[in-house]
């Protein structure tokens, strides 16, 4: 392959990933509204198109046509920069999440990941930490009391849970011995899924992912009854859409990371023993990745409409006094397992 072929393949992959991502984000919003309506015995959006299937597009056009307002007390530059950071961080994380094995299309061997970076997990952790800046800047620069309190709460919450998230990832690294997402997926061959080998780490990582994406029961930063809209109280138009998009994109990344790190990524246990063709195997593996991700996303929505919000001191106690010690215990557990069974 010469350089142009590589560049063209890369651009096609990026285009495909961005399209899939934008579609899943908009339909995630739609499904969230439909599922919440179903859970609460309501109808939900069902007027635009068949069963409301075009609702996301109507929402986007509505937001495009809204007037953009940045209030008098706001710091204009940072106020505009914050949603940009949020969206940018949420988008660029997709580059390293593998959605399938290597496949051969038209004689080219293609990896189903945009970039096989050998420090992929560090890349994701680093970028999600940058996401805190978007929220903090938004909260500080809006010049509103609600925004400021929401921004501070969210930064404290995200950094608290980032610690237990980092330590849970440590357990996965022990098993795989590599920071590359593809190597981590391949280390979970058969039923050696990390969710089965290290259930404590799976739970702490999932809880931390809920907290990092500011989902209920951890949505303190935008607790409506206390803080109106939290850090995005003073945002409107496409800037608001940016935060909205970033929030749902982060949810998809969180689900993708949970699947990659703990649920075997695109692996279907022992599918290569069945003797199916290469194309069928690859299709089933890619399909299994999206099915697992969909199940995790449904779990996110289900939890949101079933569990009430924590109080702030409960949130901090859970983060530091329960999740953090548990993730330490998980590392010792995994290290001992490797020592005993020579995995």
């Amino acid at each position: 392959m010469n350089i142009w072929e590589i560049i063209i393949i890369t651009v096609i992959k990026i285009g495909a990933i961005l399209t899939i991502m934008l579609l899943t984000v908009s339909y995630l919003v739609y499904f969230e509204r439909r599922i919440s309506a179903w859970i609460q015995s309501r109808l939900g959006p069902n007027r635009v198109g068949w069963e409301g299937i075009l609702q996301p597009f109507a929402d986007v056009f509505k937001l495009l046509l809204k007037e953009d307002i940045s209030p008098v007390a706001a710091n204009k530059f940072i106020h505009g920069l914050a949603p940009f950071i949020a969206v940018f961080v949420a988008f660029s994380t997709y580059a390293v999440i593998p959605i399938g094995p290597d496949v051969t299309i038209f004689g080219y061997s293609i990896q189903l990941v945009v970039a096989d970076v050998n420090i992929g997990v560090l890349y994701v952790l680093a970028l999600t930490s940058l996401g805190v800046y978007g929220l903090t800047f938004a909260g500080w620069s809006s010049g509103s009391k609600y925004s400021l309190l929401g921004g501070i709460r969210s930064s404290a919450q995200m950094i608290s849970y980032e610690v237990s998230m980092g330590f849970s990832v440590g357990g996965v690294l022990l098993m795989a011995g590599s920071l590359s997402p593809i190597a981590i997926v391949e280390a979970q061959y058969g039923w050696m899924w990390n969710a089965i080998v290290q259930p404590i780490g799976f739970i702490t990582f999932t809880v931390a992912a809920f907290a990092e994406t500011n989902r209920l029961p951890f949505d303190l930063p935008e607790a409506e009854p206390e803080l109106v809209g939290g850090y995005h109280t003073e945002y409107s138009s496409m800037k608001f859409a940016g935060f909205f998009l970033a929030e749902y994109a982060n949810m998809i990344i969180a689900a993708g990371m949970i699947v990659t790190l703990y649920l075997g990524g695109w692996q279907v246990p022992y599918i290569d023993k069945l003797g199916l063709g290469e194309i069928v195997t690859a299709l089933m593996q890619v399909g299994s990745f999206f099915v697992k991700m969909g199940a995790i996303l449904f779990f996110f929505i289900w939890v949101r409409w079933s569990i009430p919000r924590f109080r702030y001191d409960q949130l901090m106690n859970l983060g530091w006094k329960v999740m953090f010690p548990l993730s330490l215990i998980n590392i010792v557990w995994v290290a001992a397992l490797i020592m005993i069974f020579n995995l």
Binding site: I69, V72, W140, S142, L173
Partner: protein, 144 residues
């Protein structure tokens, strides 16, 4: 040759371009009819009172400090986790000692109360006392 990080760079540039284009298109087609009222800070319909940068709980600062310490320890833990399988029982002991020291630091912070999130204990105003102080004869029934 395009390295893997080069691909990431291309991805980041395209993602940033997408955001800029979306914001630019929105600027072209959205209306702009500003009035004075629209630009005021939202405070539930009241006129904004005082500075928006209010004082907040010092606990947030302590949480950030504790986070800094433990996050550095994550950075130290990752290289050990990656090379763990090459060192056998020696690597296990080294890791356990490291985690013990980490746990000791954790226990120290817990003991010193730095992980507690103190709840404020506000004293609800006593209506009877307020009425007594004001020394006005307001004909209301005072609850006890």
């Amino acid at each position: 040759m395009l390295t893997e990080f080069g691909k990431v760079l291309v991805f980041i540039i395209l993602a940033a371009a997408f955001v800029v284009i979306a914001l630019f298109v929105a600027r072209l087609i959205r209306p702009a009819r500003p009035t004075k009222e629209k630009f005021t800070i939202y405070e539930c319909g009241e006129n904004p009172e005082g500075t928006p940068w209010v004082k907040f709980n010092i606990r947030f600062y302590v949480v950030a400090l504790i986070f800094l310490i433990f996050d550095v320890e994550i950075v130290l833990l990752f290289p050990w986790a990656l090379t763990y399988q090459d060192y056998g029982i020696y690597g296990f002991l080294v890791g356990i000692i490291f985690l013990l020291i980490l746990g000791l630091g954790m226990a120290y912070e817990w003991r010193k109360g730095d992980l507690e999130w103190e709840k404020p204990s506000p004293k609800p105003p006593n209506l009877a006392k307020i009425l007594e102080k004001s020394k006005r004869n307001i004909p209301v029934e005072v609850p006890d």
